[in-house]
Amino acid sequence: MSANGKPKFAMYWAAGCGGCEIAVLNIHEKILDVDANFEVVFWPVAMDAKYQDVEAMPDGSITLTLFDGGIRNSENEMLARLLRRKSQILVAFGSCACQGGIPGLANLSATESLFAAVYDGISTDSQGVRPQAVWQVPEGELHIPEFYPVLKTLAQVVPVDYFMPGCPPEPHQIAAVVDLVIQALHGQAELPPPGSIIGASCSTVCDECPRARNVKHIRAFERIQNLAHIDPTLCLLEQGLPCNGPATRSGCGALCPQAGALCIGCYGPAEGVLDYGARLLSAFASVVDGSTPEEIERCLDGIPDPAGQMYRFGLANSLLRGGRAACEEEAEQELSYEAAHHD
């Protein structure tokens, strides 16, 4: 408890786009309840704060920490460990913290090919430059965070109390979670068991989607912009569009398919699904109409980037976690790190 007797609240933005931070403000007047019930002690996007201030806090003194973004570099990991130590309830907030999210797709490539794309591509003037974790200047030594070969989810680095999926989590779900935590603080409600997924449902997006579903026979997967006509009442997958609804956790209200856009799977795997991509792959392949390898391959050509389609948000949290090059680079780094710290 702080001087004014309020429980403390923190939020941190790691490797993500920052949309989760905006989403918290998107709960409208509920944000006043957050302010009325919590003292915000650390929230870099909203207020000035130094990491040293957090280090100086007693362990376990922050009641609730929302952590959004994945673990891309050593700074993200340091903050994850620090906030874990200082927080009673640590929430992996949003798709990136829960499953790696879009930045996790970089796990398909090893570091050098990522750097080549970023620093040698047409988007920059500084051709051939590579970030250096340590750099000498006349004034002394400069340090920047070390880039990791494999992006990790928050739970792959520290234990996480609750997972709140979504890119970003839907405002009504955030508001419901805020309400629940406030009630629990006043002894009027019980928090779910640690490790629970909160602010989402247990079924799939298809369950919430009002579009009509019949037997699916897909002759060709199409890109949405190539279809002349899209039936507004019929299942998008049935129309040959790779909609991720069948494998994706419900809770968003099936907003995208209702608006005529494909579900991209931001709420992550539905209840009981070990590997999101495998489940989605299974769902897509099962409805392909074709019995010879040639017919099937022709239909599958409509999914030009299967790994990106199946793991748009969940690659870092999948069984393989990424491509072989990145995973092996990480293993080599860990071996050399262990060797260096063994004597």
């Binding site: 362990d59 376990g60 874990r84 130590r85 009673q88 640590l90 398909l108 990790k152 989810t153 739970a155 792959q156 680095v157 520290v158 234990p159 996480v160 109390d161 997972f163 640690p194 490790g195 070990l274 590997d275 991509g277 495998a278 489940r279 792959l281 299974s282 897509f284 392949a285 099962s286 392909v288 074709g290 019995s291 390898p293 099937i296 391959e297 599958l300 999914i303 980037d305 299967p306 790994a307 199946m310 949290n317 999948s318 069984l319 393989l320 976690r321 990424g322 491509g323 072989r324 090059a325 995973c327 092996e328 990480e330 293993a331 860990e334």
Partner: protein
């Protein structure tokens, strides 16, 4: 180094055909290398691609999926589903840097013990030539969904 490498393959067999083909190979004393660990499913259509990914992520060097010939599925057409899933999975695994020889789909009827033994032998040699997959395990950090109460006690 690769001289001493013995690949570990996981083989998924169908109760109605390939499992019996393996059985037939056994009773007929047809030899195949012991590098494959056969698991019986009721049908190749039962094969969730998760099984393949889990096998590869947990240390297998290759996965063999077997089922009834097209048109001969005990459950009418589930082997076609297995084929479709396999073809899509193969595309995805290629993007992740896994050689196509490491995951194969083979049809084998209950009478084809010799054929199954040959396919297993060939795949073991193919994977031996590729070398270990040795998919890196996740090292530091906690398991997902780890019990948070235990940690809080530890850090308090």
């Amino acid at each position: 180094m690769t001289d001493s490498f013995e690949p570990v393959l996981i083989g998924f067999t169908c109760n109605w055909c390939s499992y019996r083909a393996a059985d037939l190979a056994g009773t007929a004393r047809v030899k195949y290398p012991p590098n494959i660990r056969l698991l019986r499913l009721m049908c190749s259509g039962r094969l969730d691609p998760t099984f393949v990914l889990k096998a590869l992520a947990s240390g297998a060097d290759g996965v063999l999926i077997t089922g009834c010939h097209p048109g001969e599925c005990h459950y009418l057409e589930q082997n076609y589903k297995a084929l479709r899933r396999y073809l899509l999975l193969r595309r995805m695994l290629a993007q992740m840097g896994i050689e196509p020889e490491r995951v194969k789909l083979v049809w084998a009827s209950a009478a084809e013990g010799v054929k199954l033994a040959e396919e297993i032998t060939r795949m073991v040699e193919d994977v031996r030539a590729l070398g270990p997959l040795n998919w890196p395990q996740r090292h530091n950090g906690a398991a997902p969904h780890a019990d948070a109460t235990a940690i809080k006690e530890g850090t308090a």
